[in-house]
Structures are given as C-alpha cells and as structure tokens.
Amino acid sequence: MSAGSSSATALDGARLDLALALHEQMVRIRRFEERVAELFAAGELPGFVHLSIGQESVAVGVIDLLRESDYITATHRGHGHIIAKGARFHPMIAELMGRATGYCRGKGGSMHIFDVGLGVLGANGILGAGQPIAVGAAFSARLQGRDDVAVTFFGEGASAQGAVHEAMNLAAVWRAPVVFVAEVNGFAELTPYDVHVPIPSLAARGAAYGIPATVVDGLDVLAVRDAAEGCIARAREGGGPSLLEVRTLRWHGHYEGDPQRYRDPAELARRADVDPIAHLVLALREAGVPDDRIASAAERADADLDVAVATARADPLPAPEDALDHVYATPIEPRR
C-alpha cells in the first residue's frame, strides 16, 4: 500500500478539523522521539530508550477519544501514549535526563513515566504488566460510580505473556470498561512476528474470551480513531471490554543503538510507505490545507522541545540521598 492511496473520503468540515488535530498530535510525538534519538546519540541520556517512531497513529488515534479522567497504561515504548494523553515535554525530557525535575524525580526513567493526574498509570518495563492493572482501574472507576474507561497498550511480544490472558479473562468476567489495544509493530524485541505468534492476527483471540475484536491498519489515523470510537463507547456505556488490533511498523530498533542486523533492508526501505503522518499529510493537501500550515505543526513541537530541553539541561540532578525517598508512603521508624 502506498501513502495516500486509501484516503477514500475527502476531508472537510469537522472531519478536517479532526484530521488537523490528529496531525498536530502525531507530529508532536514524532518530533519528540526524533529529539530523544538525537539526545541519546549525543550521550545526554543515561540508560536506554525505546522509540515509537512510525507508530504514532496508534497512540493518537485511540487516546484522542479519551478524557483526562480516563486511564491508560503504556508500554516500554510508551512516550507516544503518554504525550497523547497530555503529558508535558519538560518533565518527560527531564526524567529521561535523570533530573530532579523529571516526572519521577529521576527514579524511573523512560520506561516508568507516570502522570497520575492525567490518568497515566505508568509506562512499564515488564511486558504484560499493564493489562491487569488497567482492568483493575476500569473496574475501580465503575465501582466508584464513574463512567471513566481504561485503555491498555501492548505489543505482540507481550501477547505471549500469561498476564495478558489473565487480564482479558478477568475483564470479560467483570465486563470491565477496558479497551485492549494490541499495537502490532512487527517485532518482539529483536524477533519478528512470525517466529513467536502462531496466528496471522491477535484479534482472533478475542473470541476466546467472548469479547469483540477489530483489526485496523495503523497507516490511517482516522481509521484507527474510527475503530477505537466503538470500543471506547462500548466500554463507557457498560458494554464491557474489547480488543483492538492496530497493524503498524516499528521504524527504529528495539532500543536506540540497536544495530538491527536481524532486519531485512527491504522492510526498512518500506517505512516511507507506511508512514501515518505522510499518509495524513497527503490527505490534508488534497483537502486544500496549505503546506506552510501543515509544516507549522513541526515548528510548534520543535519550539516546545527547544524550551523543554534547554530547561531540563539547566535543571539540577537529584541529590544522591534523594535515592532514599518514596519507598513508603508512611515509613515506620525503627524503635530507638
């Protein structure tokens, strides 16, 4: 499929406004991730990072439908999910740099960014850990009389985890207002889909739990959003859980610096054909949106990033003894 070939319906009116908003969000994620890649290559980020370039339509298409009070759990490749939920650049960059001003005060890093106020119940370094947590959050909201929902992202790698099965089973038993989003990007770490998934589509597993499942191509963010709309409405209206599989492609390695010797160069060359941003830009152009207006989204994201990076660079590192804080809410002092 080549970029632009599936823009079946012309964008106009509210649909055009929506497309522009989704474009803005996807570009924010893309520019953030590209900046993180630069900072990592320059040696400014300790540890390691996993980037979601090429997969922006999944986070944006789904999370655009959520309210601030709704919950998400993100993956180890979770920057995009968290940005789409409304997270600010500065505390994210500061956390990646290990600064005291980071979202987690330097205690978590890239894989553990939380923003509890925005309903971000954590990225997670453990495959399959976010799904049971999301089921609990969804159940909890309902029990407390709120119509908030939870959306939980996982990849085909995590789909092999027993915890994902347990979460789907429990969600179905409880009819919990949760949407499982399988973000199929072609790989579990360094291993391609066909090696570890025995069926062509994860959506087939929905039937095993009695929950509806849909597959959508991540090339088209509007299609992703349309597919997610039914899932989220179903959850919010008491219809229970559902499974949404989005087919996408991971552009970078598992981690930054991954030499990717396991990848076919032809597949890497295919990236431009499955770029959800380029695909949407073609549709915006067809709808008559001027190029400079399209380009301005990246300019706004870059301006925000410039401020975030400059601020984070000047921010203090944590004091070493800050490592002792936040183990317990109510520490118990030893008896003297």
Binding site: I126, I133, V135, G136, A167, R335
Partner: protein
C-alpha cells in the same frame, strides 16, 4: 473479653474494615459465596455484596494486578492468596508493580493494598502448600510484611495493614487457625506495624521467633523452665520493618540468643537478626548465636518427614540449654 479463634479474627478484622471504609474491597478465590477455604470470609459477601467481595478466577497474577490498578485509582483492595505458595505465581505484580510504583513514580502514586495469605507447614499439605515466604517478601523495598502469631495480633495487625497507605503482606499460619485467645471487642483497636512483642519474660536466654515458630518457642520455654532455665520469647510480629531494637534489648539482658524459624535458615530472617545482634550487642554475648531451622529442602508431605523438617520444641530447648550450661 470474648474468646476469638485465629481464623475468626481474620473474618472479624475484614468485616470491621469493610464496614468502616466504603473504599475497601476484598477479592480472592472462593472468598465470596463459599466463605473462604478456612471459613475466614464467611458471611462477608452477604453483608457487603458481590461487587465488594469478589470471587475471582484462578490466576493470582491477573487478580493481584487488577488489585494494583484498583489501589492506584481510589480503592483500598484486600487480596487473599489462599496459599502462600501461590506468591511465586504473582511475584511480578507484587514485586515489580505494587512494591515499586511509589518509588519509580517519584512519589506520585500510592498502592494502599493489603495481601492476606496462609502459609506454614505441619498439616501434611505437601511441598506446594506448606511454604513460608517471609524472607522473600521481606527483602523487597516497598512492601511491609507482618506475621501474626495469635488471634489478637491477627485482628490488630490486619486492621492496621488495611488502613496503611503502602502494600502490606499479612502472612497467616495455617497451623494456628484453631488457636483461641481472649481479644478485646473493640473495633478501634489496632496494633502498630513494625513492633515486636515479648511473649514471655526470662533472664537466661532469648528465643526469637515469629508466626508458627512462636508457639514452638513458648513450648520450649516451658520445658526449659522445668529445668530451671528462664527463656525470654520475643515474637518479631513484623518482618519488614524488623524491630531489631527489642531483640537487642533482650539479648543485652540474657546474653544468649537462639533464633527459631520454620523457614530454612539460608538467607532467612534469622540471618538478618543474627547480623544485627552481632553488630549491636557483640560485647553482651556470652555464647555463640544459634539458629534452629529446617534443613535446606522443600517441606515434605509424609508425617515423619515433615516432623523431621520442622523444629520441634525439644530441639529448641536442647539448643538453648547447651548455650546456657556450657
């Protein structure tokens, strides 16, 4: 004061806290309509409804994880893991999620979760239904671990655990379920977490124990008393945090220490006690510190094998007597 059995103290503490705080929920296998496999949740679903007292599908990893999600979003879940040997099944959610969320979120998130579980041997339940896991769980920063040895402690410590804003593991002992004790009928009575208790005063030797080991140590102390040796029995009650000061105070008076445990000695709580007592009270010790602990094997099934595995009061008394008389 009314008499209360150990298992009924669990039920009473749960009922009082579910009544007191509408944000509490209880989930586990067979705890709803069946009333729990130890009758420890009898009547709770009738009183609080199936939305707050939930029978969940087997799958400790899934339902413990769901409880973490509940705890992050305004509820105070209480989870029952019916046998402590099932902890290994759900260790990721306990260790990587519940225990670490506060820390790795930089203090943003709280996990006010209580996990109640039943461990311990002596019932011929076999290698996968007799284990005790306080050493594993107590070594995880972010978790608090208590080990009530009496009905009164069950009630007081379980209530404190439920009210605490951190994940607290309440490790109960299956061998103590029918133990009786007079317990004040006071819904506001709680016991502080992290405090040891002297169960019996004595001047010649200190016996440190917890959970099912306390009963064995007290029995040994009776035997020793008949031979003119007064043993002081310290019940740790809490594993994390560990009340070292109470143990050190006792050893400074008795000058001798025996640690009694139903869990294997290697990397156990006794090792931690010994290290701290050696450091803090070295000059007060008149004899080497001893540990009476099971051999390095799983808990066996057949009655003679299991009796051999667990420390008998006679073993404890013999060990203490040797310290005092040599």
């Amino acid at each position: 004061m009314p008499e209360l059995k150990y298992y009924a103290a669990v039920q009473q503490a749960l009922a009082e806290e579910l009544r007191r705080d509408p944000s509490t929920i209880l989930l586990g296998e067979d705890i709803g309509a069946p009333g729990g496999i130890y009758a420890e949740t009898r009547g709770l679903q009738d009183e609080f409804g199936a939305e707050r007292v939930l029978d969940v599908p087997a799958g400790e990893l899934g339902f413990l994880g769901a409880a973490v999600g509940c705890a992050l979003t305004g509820l105070r879940p209480i989870v029952e893991i019916s046998f402590a040997d099932f902890f290994p099944v759900c260790m990721d959610q306990l260790v990587n999620q519940a225990a670490k969320v506060r820390y790795m979120s930089g203090g943003q998130a709280s996990v006010p979760l209580t996990v109640v579980s039943f461990g311990g041997g002596g019932l011929n339940a076999g290698p996968q239904h007799s284990g005790t896991y306080e050493a594993w769980l107590g070594s995880m920063p972010g978790l608090k671990v208590v080990t009530p040895a009496t009905p009164g402690d069950v009630k007081g410590l379980l209530k404190s655990a439920i009210r605490d804003d951190d994940p607290v593991i309440v490790l109960l002992h299956k061998g103590l379920l029918q133990m009786r004790e007079d317990v004040p009928d006071d819904g506001d009575r709680t016991l502080p977490l992290g405090r040891a208790e002297i169960r019996r005063p004595g001047e010649h030797v200190t016996l440190v124990a917890w959970s099912g080991g306390v009963r064995r140590a007290l029995s040994a102390a009776d035997d020793l008393a008949a031979r003119g040796i007064e043993a002081e029995v310290v019940d740790l009650r809490s594993i994390q945090p560990l009340d070292v000061a109470t143990v050190v105070d006792s050893v400074c008076r008795t000058h001798r220490l025996v640690v009694v445990q139903e869990t294997i000695g290697f990397s156990g709580i006794g090792a931690e006690v010994v290290a701290e007592v050696t450091r803090q009270a070295f000059d007060y010790l008149d004899a080497p510190i001893e540990r009476v602990a099971p051999p390095f094997t799983p808990v066996p099934f057949s009655p003679p094998l299991e009796r051999f595995h667990l420390p008998e009061p006679a073993d404890i008394a013999r060990c203490a007597e040797e310290l005092v008389t040599t």
